[in-house]
């Protein structure tokens, strides 16, 4: 058989309640040739990841990913109304099906205790906003690691 290599792009899920920041992060991620899905809330992120029980809205931490969407990395804003980025991080790390997906937190505020608790809870990186290209370049090693 001839060696046909299908190049699948890494799929990044970005979560931010700011419309301006969504536009920015989407563009930044696309310049790195990632496939990007952007949502405007933690709830929508959980829905997309299949972690939300549609019937009564409760979080099913062992839910299988019914949508069969493959997400290779999640990048989320910290301060969001409703489910915060930190809440989202925790729920992902508590999920048997999703805990190995790298999670990155973005925040406009440089609060050391916040940064530490995110990293301790399993976030791979913490980016200060506005997020730069150099920050997005740091995502690649985390994505490549997931390819084992």
């Amino acid at each position: 058989m001839g060696g046909v290599i299908l190049e699948t792009k890494f799929h990044v899920l970005a979560v931010d309640d700011s419309i301006v920041d969504r536009k920015l992060i989407e563009r930044l991620l696309k310049t790195s040739s990632y496939q990007v899905t952007v949502v405007d809330s933690g709830v929508k992120a959980l829905e997309f990841l299949g972690l939300l029980d549609d019937e009564n809205g409760s979080i099913d931490s062992t839910a299988q990913n019914h949508h069969q969407v493959q997400v290779n990395l999640i990048i989320t804003d910290y301060s969001m109304p409703g489910i915060t980025g930190y809440d989202l991080l925790r729920k992902i790390k508590e999920s048997t099906s999703l805990k190995n997906i790298p999670v990155v937190i973005m925040s406009s505020e440089d609060v050391p205790s916040r940064i530490n608790s995110c990293l301790e809870t399993g976030a791979e990186e913490f980016f200060l906003k506005p997020v730069q290209q150099s920050d997005v370049n740091k995502l690649r090693p985390h994505l490549l690691r997931g390819m084992a």
Partner: protein, 152 residues
């Protein structure tokens, strides 16, 4: 072409003054870097979104400060959003005004909040005007067949 040269000089002089007077900061340069042939309208798109979002925030701020009992946490939330979006597009003076505005929210100082709402509004309309002029100049250069001088 003479006209292109003139327009380019106008552009450089104008944008230099915007940086010098802190209307814009380095983040605007970063936005420009994200624009390319595959996304030639990126800056216009982001800036348009910013304008629309800001008008909404200014309205929300005004109405929240007009309530009988002002919810300063709510006001602070709006200012926080505005601070974030202005920072993301490089609108430095707007961002700085928001930082000060936040302090008055924390102090639950209605007078200060009202004053700073006016200031933030002023700074926003100023930078909006400048950015519209800037983007119009870019269009003129492109239409005259020239290239927009890269920033830095």
């Amino acid at each position: 072409m003479e006209i292109v040269g003139q327009l380019q000089k106008q552009y450089v002089d104008f944008i230099t003054s915007l940086f010098r007077e802190a209307y814009l900061d380095d983040q605007y340069v970063q936005l420009q870097k994200l624009q390319d042939d595959s996304n030639p309208e990126f800056v216009v798109e982001v800036v348009s979104i910013f304008f629309e979002d800001s008008e909404k925030l200014l309205n929300d701020l005004a109405s929240s400060l007009q309530q009988q009992v002002v919810d300063f946490k709510k006001v602070d939330g709006y200012v926080h959003q505005f601070k974030g979006s202005s920072s993301s597009v490089g609108a430095q003076r707007v961002k700085n005004a928001c930082v000060d505005f936040k302090n008055f929210c924390e102090e639950k100082n209605l007078d200060g909040c009202l004053r700073f709402l006016n200031l933030v509004k002023q700074e926003f309309y100023l930078v909006k005007n400048k950015l519209e002029t800037l983007l119009r100049l870019e269009q003129q250069i492109l239409q005259a067949g020239g290239m927009v001088p890269p920033l830095e």
